[in-house]
């Protein structure tokens, strides 16, 4: 996005900026609206009142400051997983494995949170968070190396590694590091120490600000550094990057590692800020939601924040909706899938909005044989 024009005439360039913003946002907004309309139809078919359901959904997510805090708390790991997926997209990689990387991040942060003792609060939390992020990065290095040096497609390897991650984290939380205090039988690790907890400011979780900061850093890395330029070049054309003398294999690996770092940090923040320990099943789906969020946010770091808040709001309000309107909360998954469909099948939406496709905003991923 060329939002870096020097302003000659204030109002003129502001108008241009507004119309550019509209061009970027029109498709995601229309996709969200279409998904909500079809969701309402599905709700009506299954015998519920869509207006009551949506009212309850909004009440549960934005109704009061407490609900809003819950929305932001739900959005926090989603921003990270959205960033992870979007970052990989920039190099033409589809990291479906954000889920597995996030699980390892959540687990390792929890382990650092209860095993390391005697550290001051701020330092302990930082260390635990970085430990989780590093775990995610290392786990993402596997598909990165495989893609870069053997050509094994990251879509399949990352999905397979998700199953590996689920099994191994389950084993650790139910075996060697199981919480045995007070005759506990549930598979979970012990609770983290107070010094490792990431606090909230009032109702707003501090982790949310970290997520926003991470978005800014990712934007800076992608558009203001040489590495970011290389990553985007590899994403647009690996051949051009190769002939320009860039180390494509290295860039691919490093992109996956950074992507995994972001996903792992998302898991770490969830553990240290919300859950307070690692418990299998508590982080289910957060990584997969990252795909929807990355695409809804047009794979731009600043687009991901509102997209994550939207999905976070649907998660935060789902139980209120279930309680007040008697609607199974899985409907939010359906609506989310529809959003993903309409935002990616943007030709359909463009026909409705009568706008033309812009060049250079299409994501291209590599097929099987290519590196």
């Amino acid at each position: 996005m060329d939002d870096q024009q020097t302003s000659e005439e204030g109002s003129q360039s502001f108008k241009a900026w507004l119309s550019a913003l509209w061009r970027v946002m029109a498709i995601p907004l229309a996709a969200v609206l279409l998904a909500l309309v079809i969701g309402a139809v599905l709700l009506a078919i299954s015998g519920a009142n869509p207006f009551r359901a949506y009212a309850a959904l909004i009440e549960g997510s934005f109704g009061n400051i407490k609900a809003f805090g819950r929305t932001l708390a739900k959005a926090t790991p989603l921003i990270f997983s959205g960033l992870a997926v979007a970052f990989a997209f920039k190099a033409g990689l589809f990291n479906i494995g954000a889920q597995g990387q996030l699980l390892f991040g959540a687990l390792v942060s929890a382990v650092a949170g209860f095993m390391i003792k005697g550290l001051p609060p701020f330092l302990h939390a930082t260390l635990a968070l970085l430990a989780g992020a590093t775990a995610g990065a290392l786990f993402a290095a596997i598909p990165g190396v495989l893609k870069a040096y053997t050509g094994a497609h990251e879509v399949i390897t990352t999905i397979m590694l998700n199953y590996v991650a689920i099994n191994i984290t389950d084993y650790i939380a139910d075996g060697p590091l199981k919480d045995t205090s007070g005759g506990n039988v549930i598979a979970r690790t012990p609770a983290i120490l107070d010094s490792a907890k990431i606090p909230s400011i009032g109702e707003i979780p501090l982790g949310f600000f970290l997520a926003v900061l991470a978005s800014v850093l990712v934007w800076w890395l992608l558009w203001r550094t040489t590495l970011g330029f290389e990553i985007r070049t590899v994403g647009l054309s690996p051949h051009a990057a190769k002939y320009a003398g860039m180390k494509v294999a290295f860039t691919v690996t490093l992109t996956m590692v950074i992507s995994g770092f972001l996903a792992g940090m998302g898991g770490g923040i969830e553990t240290l800020g919300i859950v307070g320990r690692y418990q299998p099943g508590f982080n289910a789906g957060l990584g997969f939601d990252g795909i929807t969020i990355a695409l809804l946010g047009k794979t731009h770091p600043f687009g991901i924040i509102p997209a994550a808040i939207l999905i976070g709001a649907m998660k935060a309000g789902a139980s209120t909706m279930q309680f007040n309107a008697g609607v199974a909360k899985e409907i939010t998954d359906v609506i989310q899938a529809l959003m993903l469909f309409f935002v990616t099948a943007d030709m359909i939406v463009r026909k409705i909005l009568r706008t033309k496709a812009e060049s250079g905003e299409k994501i291209t991923l590599s097929g099987w044989g290519q590196q």
């Binding site: 053997t150 094994a152 397979m160 590694l161 997969f288 469909f341 099948a345 991923l365 097929g367 099987w368």
Partner: protein, 341 residues
């Protein structure tokens, strides 16, 4: 690229045969030896493992057939998982409502075909990125089945094995090959049928031409879009059948996300099988064998945490991909939407 005028040195056909099939032959021979040896030790367990191998491999072969029909016409199908899952769910629901198994299988096939149509629409007409298109199908299927699923429903009966007369009494292979429920038999037939269609018919030649060089195919008057649509829709129908296998033949009920990654393992099977139905069958049997051994190891009470045994098929998939993807010929136009001039 064969642009130079020098021809490659002639290779004896025997050497070429060995180079192409040597590894496959080696694997097959060693598996046969192991099976006979095991059979001499304990015939019941051997027969159980073989039968389980066939059972585990069935959804994988069907998924791989779905995948390779698309890929041979240059449409990457990452949505096999979702097509299978939705097929399994709709087949299950229709059976619960009507009590009819045949109608349920039919419904699953139609569901798969409709999902195939959706993928074809996204990748051929809308020219979306095919990998994202397939992911949309997966997430959509997961969301829809999750929302409409009700706990505690079971099917009215399951598809039962039909022994094929005296064939079923042949030692070792009899129970595994000739005493199966209908969808498993259908799978055997489909593998051979798809192989025949793909390599010995006009339609198959057109499909492969569209996958390798759509422009040339178009110039010769082949309707590239139509070929891709038909292949992806038939592929979807086969994935739907794989779904029907899961709910109506193997389990008898539906669970959330019951496909458990089989659609993706099927893609690895397809690549391992060099994008041919017979090759995919062999690869699927190997994966099925790994899963069957997994169950046997758990029964044998070997002291390994079940989670470690559980990751075996997934690790095997990764190893296969890393080892084979660079060495197989992928259809040249795979994943590239066709733009008519």
């Amino acid at each position: 690229m064969q642009t130079t005028t020098t021809l490659p040195a002639p290779v004896s056909p025997w050497k070429r045969f060995l180079k192409q099939w040597g590894m496959t032959l080696g694997i097959v021979l060693s598996v046969v030896v192991i099976i006979i040896w095991q059979y001499s030790l304990n015939e019941n367990i051997t027969e159980a493992v073989l039968a389980s191998t066939i059972r585990q491999s069935t959804p994988l072969v069907l998924g791989a057939l779905c995948g390779l029909l698309g890929e041979r016409s240059a449409v990457i199908n990452i949505g096999i998982e979702g097509q299978m899952l939705l097929g399994a769910f709709i087949g299950f629901l229709v059976n619960v409502w009507t009590g009819n198994l045949l109608l349920a299988v039919f419904a699953a096939i139609i569901t798969g075909a409709i999902m195939g149509l959706l993928l074809a629409y996204m990748s051929v007409t809308l020219k979306m990125d095919q990998i994202i298109g397939g992911t949309v199908i997966n997430i959509l299927a997961l969301g829809l089945t999750g929302y409409f699923y009700q706990v505690g429903l079971t099917t009215n009966g399951k598809l039962q094995p039909i022994p094929l007369g005296p064939l079923a009494d042949i030692p070792i292979v009899g129970p595994a090959l000739f005493n199966n429920p209908p969808i498993t038999y259908a799978t055997f037939v489909l593998v051979i049928l798809v192989h025949y269609i793909l390599f010995y018919t006009k339609w198959g030649l057109r499909t492969r031409a569209v996958g390798e060089h759509p422009r040339a195919a178009d110039t010769l008057g082949i309707n590239v879009f139509k070929v891709r649509y038909v292949n992806v829709i038939i592929g979807g129908a086969i994935a739907g059948l794989a779904g029907a296998f899961l709910t109506l033949e193997a389990v008898g009920s539906f669970e959330r996300n019951m496909t458990n990654g089989r659609g993706f393992v099927a893609l690895a099977v397809m690549i391992f099988g060099k994008f041919t139905p017979l090759g995919a069958w062999g690869a699927a049997l190997l994966f099925g064998f790994a899963s069957a051994m997994q169950t046997q190891l758990q029964f044998a009470g070997i002291n390994v945490p079940h989670q470690f045994i559980g990751i075996l098929p997934y690790v095997l998939t990764i190893v296969v991909l890393a080892g084979f993807v660079g060495r197989t010929h992928v259809p040249a136009a795979d994943g590239v939407p066709y733009e008519k001039e």
